[in-house]
């Protein structure tokens, strides 16, 4: 009898333990995973402004801005970041850019509506380890538990795709940066808005540039990493290159994780192209460029994805020379209030110089296009709130649909077509090239489009 009792007791204990393990943790009290987000609102915001006096975000004039309204309301922006894993570096830059925007808004006293309501944005983010399943879990959490008002995106196409699915499922507005995938934006999304130039337009400009810089060029080789993003770029580039009269002598993908390009370069050389277009991500891009250089491949025009705009691309030394890369933004871009006026568009936000200087002052590093994208995420949302004069999601969507303006990051306009809703329409790429300055140091210059160039293109030997 007694032993039966103990047995039951044991069952009870096991049951309770397992229940506790399996379920309690994530349940009502936001225990483990719900631990507060990392470094988000930096105390820096309350301290004195930085010495270089970062320029105020030129908030659109709010005509009858009631002075000193009530307490500013909180506006929670949620997203995930890759603090670990493959996308760590770019993701960090993106957050830094966003953080800078946040500082600027704080300095301006928040986002003000016409009725005097002020919103003070705060950010909350979790580490997604660069993994899609974590992205989805964490976005669900941001939406349902943290009650994020608006969503921003993680970095990289694959992760953004995963996040967009969740945000669309939950009817949230999300502004994405760091994702250029076309396919993602052709799923019939209603509330997802893309800041990056889509992959399909990533390298088409390079083909145009080739035509201009090397008028004799006839044959091009398109080589690309076999991943989602680079494949989309290449798939769009091939018909375009043909349409403007090039012969594509080689169109071939290489496996993600390819380390050695020597045999592939032999194959490319054998096809005898006048230019190489394509690429993938950083590691393959640098190795490819380096081996191209070492093998003294005499191709005058090489434009590859992602790697060249990274400052560390210059680690490979002279091998970087002459390599062209598409970029969403570069510190030398010439978008300004004047050029906006010329294009008959409104200009919004800080000037390019102001952004670049403030970034350099705060992080002791020049901003990359990831940083600019991060800042632009916030800026676009801010503008949409001001235009909508509300934080109501439906009104924000309407404002974003209507948006057509220029910022330091470039022109922004979203597709309103049902099939491709939210896809970036206006933003264009700039093409930068590694060149040597007068002192013999490697620097980047914008070479295309011609109206935005900071230097003339130099052909490889």
């Amino acid at each position: 009898m007694f032993s039966k009792m103990t047995r039951l007791l044991w069952i009870g204990i096991v049951l309770v333990t397992l229940l506790a393990l399996a379920a309690c943790a994530p349940a009502p009290t936001p225990a483990p995973t719900a631990a507060p987000p990392t470094a988000a609102p930096k105390p820096a915001a309350t301290t004195a402004p930085v010495a270089t006096a970062a320029p105020q975000a030129t908030t659109a004039p709010a005509p009858t801005a009631a002075p000193k309204a009530a307490e500013p309301k909180k506006l929670l922006l949620g997203f995930t970041a890759s603090q670990t894993g493959a996308q760590q570096v770019a993701s960090k830059k993106q957050i830094e850019g966003l953080q800078l925007w946040l500082d600027d808004v704080k300095k301006a006293g928040g986002i003000k509506l016409k009725d005097g309501t002020t919103y003070l944005p705060e950010i909350k983010f979790y580490d997604d380890e660069s993994k899609t399943d974590r992205v989805q879990t964490l976005y669900t959490k941001l939406i349902n538990e943290d009650k994020a008002d608006f969503l921003l995106s993680p970095y990289s196409s694959t992760l953004v795709k995963a996040a967009a699915v969740v945000s669309e499922q939950n009817d949230k507005v999300m502004i994405t940066a760091g994702a250029a995938d076309d396919a993602t934006m052709e799923q019939g999304f209603k509330k997802t808005f893309q800041l990056y130039t889509p992959a399909s337009r990533y390298l088409t400009g390079a083909a145009d540039a080739l035509k201009k810089f090397v008028p004799t060029a006839k044959k091009v080789a398109i080589i690309y990493e076999k991943d989602s993003f680079s494949t989309s770029v290449a798939n769009a580039l091939q018909p375009y290159a043909k349409s403007i009269g090039f012969e594509v002598v080689l169109f071939e993908g290489y496996d993600t994780g390819t380390t050695d390009f020597a045999p592939f370069i032999n194959k490319i050389t054998a096809a005898n192209p006048d230019a190489i277009l394509g690429g993938g991500h950083f590691a393959d891009g640098t190795t490819f460029s380096k081996q191209l250089f070492e093998k003294k491949v005499p191709i005058q025009f090489v434009a590859i994805l992602v790697a060249p705009p990274e400052p560390t691309f210059k680690d490979i030394g002279d091998a970087a020379l002459g390599i062209i890369g598409p970029s969403q933004w570069e510190p030398q871009v010439t978008f300004s209030a004047e050029s906006a006026k010329a294009a008959n568009l409104p200009y919004y936000g800080p000037s390019n110089k102001a952004f670049t200087d403030a970034y350099l002052a705060k992080y002791k590093e020049s901003p990359s296009y990831h940083s600019a994208g991060g800042y632009a995420q916030g800026l676009v949302l801010q503008k949409a709130i001001e235009d909508a004069d509300s934080v109501d999601p439906a009104k924000i969507v309407a404002a974003l649909d209507k948006m057509n303006l220029m910022t330091f990051y470039g022109v922004i306009k979203f597709s309103t077509d049902a099939k491709t809703h939210g896809k970036q329409q206006a933003h264009g790429m700039v093409y930068m090239q590694w060149q040597k300055d007068s002192a013999g140091k490697l620097v980047t210059q914008i070479v295309w489009p011609l109206e935005a160039k900071s230097a003339d293109a130099v052909l490889r030997k």
Binding site: I11, A22, G188, S228
Partner: protein, 322 residues
């Protein structure tokens, strides 16, 4: 059936089932997401345990079936609008069939050779799918959101996928238990202890192993189908992620290899621990290091895993902790 009269299986099913109801009772979507992932890991770990814990064959690349099931089902759903549960079952059956044909030659290998072969198989499939344009190649496949309309919208589809995952988890655990307790399972353990001696006992190791491998491929495949259905997109990288496979091994080891409860406890503990480490601001940078150190300590000092350890220490519990 004698096996079903064991109190253990009912306890464990009730506990897991009960825990799965929590998100529905509390109506918390994010808890549901957490549980969805957790149940998926339980399924992965349990099915690896079926082949590894019972026969001693360390399948490093078991995630290949997760990917295969996911891809097959996704293709059916996308191209032929097959209902998702049917597609998932077909995906599972397809993966099992592939496991059957792979298993016949590969299970002849022993020890390290088998482990290496499973890695090779996973990588071969991953690179194959990267190039296989019918399934989207490197870009993968994605649903148009209208696919979910058939299930009452994307939100509702998530809920349905969750129910399916709960049922799958319970079936996996049940199967794991029945195999362990059956004569079949006994044969497997004999193989684990000494394959050559088991033949003397009249056991046909080759047949038994292939059958087990085929069964153990089914569950991750269905789980993959459900996961990618909810995900809305599938790509070769996340579908055949070797790392996830190794993590599932860690879970089995953590909980206790060769037990039914072990993989469940292992999956829950591992996932909670990781969740805790990566969201804690001070620990998140070091989370890999901390997890590694903990794993090492367990491997070195608690070789039998949590459940194995409890079973050794408290013999009275053995009947309730298979």
């Amino acid at each position: 059936m004698k096996t079903l009269s064991s109190p253990f299986i009912w306890i464990i099913l009730v506990v897991v089932g009960g825990a799965s109801l929590l998100p529905i009772l509390t109506n918390s979507v994010s808890l549901r997401e957490d549980m969805f992932l957790m149940l998926m890991l339980v399924i992965l770990a349990s099915s690896i345990n079926i082949i590894m814990g019972y026969t001693g064959y360390v399948s490093f690349g078991h995630i290949v079936f997760f990917g295969l099931g996911g891809y097959l089902a996704f293709f059916l759903m996308k191209e032929f609008q097959v209902q998702f549960m049917l597609a998932a079952l077909v995906g599972g059956a397809g993966a099992s069939l592939i496991a059957f044909f792979i298993g016949i030659p590969v299970l002849r290998l022993r020890g390290a050779y088998f482990a290496l072969a499973t890695i090779g198989i996973n990588e071969a499939f991953r690179s194959f799918f990267t190039n296989f344009d019918l399934f989207g190649g490197a870009v993968g496949m994605f649903f148009n959101f209208s696919v979910y309309d058939a299930y009452g919208g994307a939100k509702n589809a998530g809920q349905l996928a969750y129910y399916a995952m709960v049922v799958l988890a319970l079936v996996t655990i049940g199967t794991s238990f029945v195999i362990k307790k059956s004569k079949f399972g006994l044969g497997l353990m004999a193989i684990r202890e000494d394959q050559d001696a088991s033949m003397v006992l009249g056991i046909d190791p080759a047949r038994l192993k292939v059958l087990t491998y085929t069964i153990s491929a089914f569950f991750p495949a269905v789980a993959g189908a459900l996961f990618f259905f909810k995900n809305g997109l599938i790509e070769p990288g996340p579908a055949f992620e070797l790392h996830r496979s190794i993590e599932a091994l860690v879970m089995v080891m953590l909980g206790g290899y060769g037990t039914v409860t072990g993989p469940i406890v292992g999956a829950v503990v591992y996932e909670r621990l990781r969740g805790f480490l990566i969201t804690d601001p001070t620990l998140s940078n070091a989370h890999l290091v901390i997890a590694g150190v903990l794993l090492l300590l367990i491997v070195l000092f608690v070789t039998a895993g949590v459940i194995g350890w409890v079973r050794q220490r408290v013999p009275a519990l053995r009947r309730y902790l298979e």
